[in-house]
C-alpha cells in the first residue's frame, strides 16, 4: 500500500502548519487568570460599527439554513458605490487570506516566484511556500519596505510583488511619490498586490489611495479587509479591487460561497454607514499610540510605529518569555520572532484602560530583569 507521506509534494512536507492561539477560555485556565486582554491581533477594541451590529442583530436565525449569495452580489454593489467603481472590479473572500491564496493560484505556477519583504505579513510567504512557489524576500531598510531592493529582486519568473502598505508590523509606509515611482519602474512586469489592510487608519494626505492607483496601473490589485477598522474579524470578510480583466483571472481560481451571509450583511452595513466609527477608531488609536510611545520611552525601549493600529517595541528579554509573563497578568501581545523580529513585541492600540493595564503589566514583567 502506498504510504500517505509518499503522496505529499515536498513543498507541503516541508511546510509547517500554523498553530493559532488556543481559545481564550483555555488560555485563561492555563495561565490562571480571570480575564484576558487581547492586544495580539490588531482587533478593533470598539467592535463593529453600529450599523453592522444592527445588521447582525436583524439576521433571522432561520436564514442559517440558506446558502449565502455565492459572489457577494450586494456587498460588491455597495463597494462599487462607495468607491465609484464597477462591482465587477471587486472580489470578496473569507478574509484577505483567502484572496491572497486566490491571487497566487491565478498567476503563479511551480517555477514562478513572488517578491515581498522579509519582515512583513507572513501569509504571502506561507501561501507561496505551500503552493510550491518560490518567495524572494527583500530585507527592510530602516524598518520600511525597500523599493529599490524589491525592484532588483524581480526577475522574469516573478509574477507577483506584495507590498503591505502600511507595513505590518512596522507601520512604515510608502507615500504617493514612492509608490508611483516604484510602479513606473516596474513597468507592469508583475502583478502588484497593494495590501491595504490598515489603510483606513492612515490619516496623512500623502498616504496613497490604492483605489486611485489601480486606475492608472492595470497590474495593481488592492486588498482591504473588514477585520481591522470595521471590527468584523470574527466574520472573515476581505476583498480585492482591480481592473475588471485581472479580477476576472483571479475569480477563476476563487471559491464561491466562502463568505457567510451575516458577514456579507455586516460588511455592507459597515461600508454604507461606517464613517463615524472610522473617526472614533482613529481618535482612539491616536491617543493610544501617543500614550504607549511615552511608556516605551520611559522604559528606554526602542519602538516603531507609523500608521495602523499597532506599535512595535524592542524588549530586553526574549519576546516569547515576555509573552508568558504578560499572560500571567492577563495581557496578550504578539511575539515578533515569527516575523523575524526577535525580542520585539507588537501591541494593538486600544482604549486607555487597556493600554494602562498593558503598561502596568509590562513594567512588572521587566522589573528586576
Amino acid at each position: 500500500m502506498t504510504r500517505l507521506i509518499d503522496l505529499v509534494p515536498p513543498h507541503v512536507l516541508g511546510f509547517e502548519s500554523y498553530v493559532p492561539s488556543r481559545p481564550d477560555e483555555v488560555l485563561r485556565r492555563q495561565y490562571g487568570v480571570d480575564a484576558l486582554l487581547r492586544l495580539n491581533n490588531n482587533e478593533n477594541a470598539l467592535g463593529p460599527p453600529q450599523a453592522a451590529r444592527e445588521a447582525l442583530a436583524a439576521f433571522p436565525p432561520v436564514q442559517g439554513a440558506v446558502y449565502p449569495n455565492g459572489d457577494c452580489h450586494f456587498l460588491r454593489e455597495a463597494l462599487g458605490r462607495a468607491f465609484g467603481k464597477d462591482p465587477g472590479q471587486f472580489l470578496v473572500g473569507n478574509g484577505s487570506c483567502e484572496v491572497i491564496t486566490s491571487v497566487i493560484k491565478a498567476f503563479c505556477q511551480p517555477g514562478d516566484a513572488i517578491v515581498t519583504a522579509d519582515k512583513t505579513f507572513a501569509v504571502y510567504e506561507w501561501v507561496a511556500a505551500f503552493s510550491g512557489i518560490e518567495t524572494r524576500l527583500v530585507p527592510l531598510k530602516d524598518y520600511a519596505l525597500d523599493p529599490e531592493a524589491m525592484l532588483e529582486a524581480v526577475t522574469e519568473r516573478t509574477k507577483i510583488v506584495f507590498v503591505c502598505n502600511p507595513n505590518n508590523p512596522t507601520g512604515s509606509w510608502w507615500d504617493k511619490a514612492v509608490l508611483e515611482r516604484f510602479l513606473e519602474r516596474l513597468a507592469g512586469r508583475a502583478v502588484v498586490v497593494l495590501d491595504e489592510a490598515y489603510r483606513e487608519f492612515a490619516e496623512s494626505p500623502d498616504f496613497p489611495d490604492g483605489m486611485d492607483v489601480l486606475e492608472r496601473h492595470l497590474n495593481v490589485l488592492v486588498f482591504r479587509t473588514f477585520s481591522k477598522m470595521y471590527g468584523l474579524a470574527a466574520l472573515r470578510v476581505g476583498y480585492l479591487c482591480g481592473a475588471v480583466e485581472s479580477v476576472d483571472f483571479v475569480r477563476r481560481t476563487h471559491l464561491v460561497y466562502s463568505v457567510n451571509a451575516p458577514g456579507q450583511l455586516a460588511a455592507r452595513a459597515a461600508v454604507e454607514d461606517g464613517a463615524a466609527h472610522v473617526k472614533a477608531t482613529r481618535r482612539m488609536v491616536a491617543q493610544a499610540r501617543g500614550y504607549l510611545r511615552g511608556v516605551f520611552d520611559s522604559l528606554g525601549l526602542e519602538h516603531v510605529s507609523g500608521e495602523g493600529n499597532y506599535i512595535m517595541a524592542r524588549v530586553p528579554v526574549p519576546d516569547t518569555l515576555l509573552y508568558r509573563l504578560l499572560m500571567r497578568q492577563g495581557v496578550m501581545v504578539r511575539t515578533m520572532t515569527g516575523f523575524r523580529f526577535p525580542n520585539w513585541i507588537r501591541v494593538t492600540l486600544a482604549e486607555q484602560p487597556a493600554m494602562e493595564a498593558f503598561a502596568a503589566a509590562l513594567r512588572k514583567s521587566l522589573d528586576g530583569r
Binding site: S21, R22, Y31, P316, P318, T320, R324, T335, G338
Partner: protein, 435 residues
C-alpha cells in the same frame, strides 16, 4: 544525497552474508576506511545473527542501510515480545566471563561495541527498530592561521561552502574550549560533510575580505528543538559584540519560521549577546583545567501553547518549581514506576564525547534493573575517565519519567528542564559523582 539499500530477508543465518556484503559495499562506496567498513559489516552481521537465532518464528527482518557522506547506518526492524537487549548497555563487560551460554550474548556485545552508537525506537506493541551507526574517520584539524587580520565591515548569512566551514570550525576548535564545540569541530572535514548532508546548518559572519569573523551552527534535537553551538567569534575583541549580535539575529531570522518550537544550547559561548535567551540553569563540567558551570540557554520561537508532562513523585516539586520560574503552562501528571517491569534488563544508550569527557545516557527500554544498570553505567564510564555523566529523560513518556526515582537513588540529581527538546520537555539529570 543519501544512498539507501533496503533488504527484507528471512530470519535465517544464511542470509547474513547478503547483508554483510551489502553493508561492506555501501561503506566502501561512501569512502569509509577498511577498519570502519569491517566494523559496520560486523555490526550488521551480529545484530542480524542475534535476531535470527533468538526470536523464534520471526517474520522476515527488514534491514535498511543508509550511507551518508560522513556515516553509514543500519536500521533493523524486528518484532520481539520479550527480547532482552541488555547486552547492548555500555556497561556490559566486553569479554563475558565464564560460560558463554549463560552469560551475555556475545553477538550483541560485539555489535554494541563495534558500532559508534546505536538507538532503539519502539514503534508500538512489540515492534522495534534498532539503528547502528558507524562514522567515517577524518583527520584532525590543522592548526589554523591565527595571524590574519579581521576587520569590519561585517556581514552574516547562511553558509554552506565546505571550505569556509572547515576553516571556521578549525578556528572555533582552536579558540574555544572543547565543551563549547560540536565534536565534529575537532575534525572539521566531518563538520563540512555533516553540513552538506543537512545535519548542521550554519550562519557565518564574514569580514571585509570575506574571511570568517564568526560562526554559529545548529542541528535538530527531538521533534521540536534546534540545538545551537556558538556564537564563535574570531573578530578582534572590540568588534566581538557586534559580530555575535549579527550571528544571533541572522540565526533567529533563519529559523523563525522553521518547523521547530524552540532553540536551545547546552554549550553556548560567553559571547552570546544578552537578552536573547532564557537561562534554564547550568551543568557542571569537569575538565583537566578545573570545573565550570556551563549555563544552558533556550528560547521559544513562538508562543508557548502548553504541554502535558509526566513526573516521578520524587521530582514533582522540582518540576513545578522549574515551570513556575519559567512562567510556563504545564499539566504535570504523576508517573509511577510500573509494579513489575516488562523486561528484566533495562537499556540505555550512551553517547560519549571523549573531547569533553562527557557521556549522555538516554533510556531506551525499561527493566527491573534500572537503578543497578545506571549505577553500572556510572562505574563503567567513570572507569574510562568520563567525568561528566548526564541522563536525559523525555517527560512525554510516563515510563521514562518514572525512571527518575531510580536515577535519584543511583546518584543522579535533577539540574534543569529543556522545554520541547525531545518529544516534549526533557529533564536533565547529572550524576553526583561528577559534581
Amino acid at each position: 544525497m543519501d544512498t539507501i539499500l533496503s533488504l527484507e530477508t528471512p530470519p535465517e543465518i544464511g542470509y547474513a552474508r547478503v547483508l554483510t556484503f551489502a553493508a561492506e559495499t555501501l561503506a566502501r562506496s561512501r569512502g569509509l576506511a577498511a577498519r570502519e567498513q569491517t566494523r559496520f559489516q560486523l555490526a550488521v552481521e551480529e545484530f542480524f545473527t542475534y535476531l535470527a537465532k533468538t526470536v523464534p518464528g520471526h517474520a522476515p527482518i527488514k534491514t535498511v542501510l543508509t550511507g551518508k557522506p560522513y556515516q553509514v547506518c543500519a536500521s533493523i526492524r524486528f518484532k520481539a515480545a520479550n527480547l532482552c537487549l541488555g547486552a547492548l548497555n555500555a556497561c556490559c563487560p566486553a569479554a563475558p566471563a565464564g560460560d558463554l551460554e549463560a552469560g551475555e550474548p556475545l553477538s550483541l556485545i560485539l555489535a554494541g561495541r563495534v558500532a559508534d552508537r546505536f538507538r532503539i525506537d519502539c514503534e508500538g506493541g512489540d515492534a522495534f527498530v534498532l539503528h547502528a551507526e558507524v562514522d567515517k574517520v577524518y583527520p584532525k584539524a590543522d592548526t589554523p592561521d591565527q595571524h590574519i587580520i579581521i576587520r569590519p565591515p561585517y556581514r552574516a548569512a547562511a553558509q554552506d561552502d565546505p571550505g569556509l566551514l572547515v576553516l571556521a570550525a578549525g578556528l572555533a576548535a582552536a579558540s574555544y574550549p572543547a565543551w563549547h564545540c560540536p565534536a565534529s569541530f575537532q575534525t572539521p572535514g566531518k563538520f563540512a560533510d555533516m553540513s552538506q548532508a543537512g545535519r548542521f546548518q550554519s550562519i557565518m559572519a564574514l569580514d571585509a575580505a570575506s574571511h570568517p569573523a564568526g560562526l554559529l551552527c545548529w542541528t535538530r534535537s527531538g521533534d521540536k528543538g534546534l540545538s545551537f553551538s556558538g556564537p564563535f567569534v574570531f573578530a578582534p575583541p572590540e568588534d566581538g559584540a557586534e559580530v555575535a549580535r549579527l550571528l544571533m539575529d541572522a540565526f533567529l531570522a533563519a529559523v523563525a519560521r522553521e518547523t521547530a518550537e524552540i532553540v536551545f544550547s547546552e554549550r553556548a559561548t560567553p559571547d552570546t549577546p544578552p537578552g536573547y535567551f532564557e537561562p534554564l540553569g547550568s551543568l557542571t563540567l569537569h575538565a583537566p583545567g578545573g570545573t565550570i558551570e556551563q549555563p544552558v540557554l533556550y528560547r521559544h520561537l513562538r508562543e508557548d501553547t502548553g504541554e502535558t508532562v509526566w513526573a516521578a513523585p520524587e521530582l514533582a516539586d522540582f518540576l513545578h518549581g522549574a515551570y513556575d520560574r519559567l512562567a510556563m503552562c504545564r499539566n504535570v501528571m504523576t508517573a509511577h514506576p510500573a509494579t513489575s517491569a516488562e523486561r528484566e534488563r533495562s537499556l540505555f544508550s550512551a553517547t560519549v564525547d571523549k573531547y569533553k569527557a562527557t557521556a549522555a545516557l538516554r533510556p531506551l527500554l525499561d527493566g527491573e534493573d534500572t537503578q543497578a544498570n545506571l549505577a553500572a553505567h556510572v562505574g563503567a564510564l567513570s572507569g574510562k575517565g568520563v567525568a561528566n555523566i548526564f541522563l536525559y529523560i523525555d517527560l512525554s513518556r510516563s515510563w521514562e519519567a518514572a525512571l527518575a526515582g531510580a536515577a535519584l537513588r543511583a546518584g543522579f540529581r535533577p539540574r534543569l528542564v529543556l522545554p520541547f527538546a525531545g518529544r516534549s520537555d526533557v529533564l536533565v539529570l547529572q550524576h553526583d559523582q561528577a559534581d
